[in-house]
Symmetry: C2
Subunit: 337 residues, 2 copies
DNA sequence: ATCTAGCACTTGGCCAGAGAGAGTGCTAAG
DNA sequence: CTTAGCACTCTCTCTGGCCAAGTGCTAGAT
């Protein structure tokens, strides 16, 4: 058996199936690809591929369809990721220029990626892990209500309203804020909690109770930052792939809204040598996503993830190229600002 | 012709069509409802209803289906909105308790409404129109980059990064901030721009250029606040109504993501005597939503909108009840905080 | 005037059967 | 190892016939 040709056949099957959206048979294969052998030979190869579980026939006399495993081999076999076309590069440039704050950059980026791939795009908020405290603000909204704002040098701003047990006038709050700021400014957000705890001693005894309440709020702010949130775009594309896939889009929409499952998945995906990570069908280990594939990669300093979610029958090479290219531009923009 | 009975027939047709999801005929109607007359009489009524354009027959010998106009008459005919069941009230209570900041409240609310109605729910951010400036913060991120934060007494926090034309050290920025705050604090957000402009005279001449840049940023912040944003939940329900409606969910998803069309629509909808507004099918005046209905109502002081989006074939009475009930709870919670 | 009963008529949905087309696996030969 | 040929298996599509649902109309009952 000719091993290289067998892989070539698998490649052809995947490409044709993605393109024509229907099972592909041996005859169509030799017509559409210059394989240099007859359909009978292809049939032998296909039988072997089926034995290995890379393709299946929906029924006796239909063509073959790649399995998750088949897509996996296909993807692994891809050596170089195709660079983007000039038109695509131009689109990236013009769409991402002119963005101002972080929210805006992420918003534009995810829309861009979605348009480029005709797929749902997701982007995780940059993690605050290595970010440092730039500023802390505390504003009295009511005698016992305080709005806490935490600003990190990564450009993220987190806010929360905290209710405390005793009244706080403006001056007292300003003093506490000053103390908090002194204890944490310029230091990593991740250590905010411990830094605040250590600064408690320097406070007046009568302030410590309320200070602890505020500190808890700030710590919670630092912990539950947006690193566990993501932005989504292009959900409409899910409904476009008019096929049997339509049945399974409801769970996918749920997963996109829930975010939890997807975020865990994204953080577990490790990019390979080509700079992108791919999870195919059941590899996602989530029932709701068993008919979808995810292509993702990290961006920025702290390796937050950006990627796309789509049906397993997708154009992997093009999507991988788009994800990687957009991630690079995004990293560049974030580093520059 | 018996007019009251004709309306009764329309009501029965709508209810049955919503329930059984298929065209309803005269015979089924007399079986399922105590109309007190024979199917032949119903047929006469139905013919009249069809002449008036309230129902149509998909083909010669199928039952009748309500038109948009039919739903409209049905909805207008509803006099009292059914109150929620105790179980639903309980669900509202337990889900909305324990929310802290505005984002969280809206997030929970929209999920709740979505679950109650099994429909897509949307909620518009409260408008800053009548809100007053509580606080302004300006943080130097880099010599020429400033993070502006605007906090309103409605609890909303807006932020934006502005790049200015000259270097700003910390002290100079603090002075400017102080001046801005003095000019605007406690005054309506809507007048922030003019208030800032008037305060320019009191600044040192060399500060005026950069101050103008910052003021422009703040004014933009006040103008483009979240009032033009909304939160969505339950998109997965769109794909659940497994029927011909599946075809049209892609445009709906787009509209939900685009937000612009929907926001305009929401703001144009005026609640009627029962406290809710309903736009049915083509009444939405948006092609992408021609097969969907929207039920919405205002909440809070500034009449921001909350509502649901679903197929025209929906349970209007139940949905109207849920929207109104949730809007009331939401108003109560926002007023209390 | 209004309602009802009956009836002829229309039509989509469903089923079975036939035929075509696509594709396979196998065998035997190059 | 490859190829040609062939029998076989399925699905898909089309057809015709039948049935059930539902209608509109007319004539009679109330």
């Amino acid at each position: 058996m000719n091993e290289p040709r067998k892989l070539e056949v698998l490649r052809a099957i995947v490409e044709d199936y993605v393109h024509y959206r229907e099972p592909v048979g041996s005859k169509a294969l030799v017509e559409r690809h210059r394989l240099g052998v007859s359909s009978a030979t292809i049939r032998n190869d296909m039988a072997a591929l089926e034995d290995e579980g890379l393709i299946v026939a929906p029924h006796t006399s239909a063509g073959r369809v790649p399995t998750d495993k088949g897509y996996r081999v296909f993807v692994d076999q891809l050596t170089n990721v195709r660079p983007l076309s000039p038109a695509e590069r131009h689109a990236i440039q013009s769409l991402l220029d002119g963005a101002d704050d972080l929210d805006d950059v992420l918003e534009r980026t995810v829309r861009l990626l979605s348009h480029l791939t005709n797929q749902v795009a997701v982007v995780q908020y940059p993690q605050l892990g290595r970010a440092r405290v730039r500023h802390i603000e505390a504003v009295a909204l009511a005698p016992r209500q305080v709005l806490l704002v935490l600003i990190a040098d990564s450009g993220t701003v987190e806010q929360r309203v905290v209710t405390v047990g005793e009244d706080l006038d403006h001056d007292r709050l300003a003093l506490l804020r000053q103390s908090f700021l002194a204890a944490t400014a310029g230091k990593p957000v991740s250590q905010l909690g411990t830094n605040l705890a250590m600064s408690m001693d320097s406070l007046l005894p009568e302030d410590r109770t309320v200070a602890a309440e505020l500190a808890a709020g700030l710590a919670a702010l630092a912990a539950s930052t947006r690193e566990d949130r993501m932005v989504t775009a292009g959900t409409a594309y899910l409904a476009r792939s008019n096929s049997d896939f339509l049945q399974s889009i409801s769970p996918v929409l749920e997963a996109l809204e829930e975010q939890v499952v997807l975020l865990r998945l994204l953080s577990e995906m490790a990019s390979d040598a080509r700079g992108v990570a791919v999870a195919i069908g059941h590899e996602t280990a989530a029932d709701s996503l068993s008919e979808t594939s995810i292509i993702a990669t990290g961006y920025g300093r702290d390796d937050a993830k950006i990627g796309i979610v789509g049906p397993t029958r997708m154009d992997y090479p093009a999507s991988m190229a788009a994800v990687r290219a957009v991630a690079r531009y995004l990293s560049k923009i974030l580093a520059g600002s």
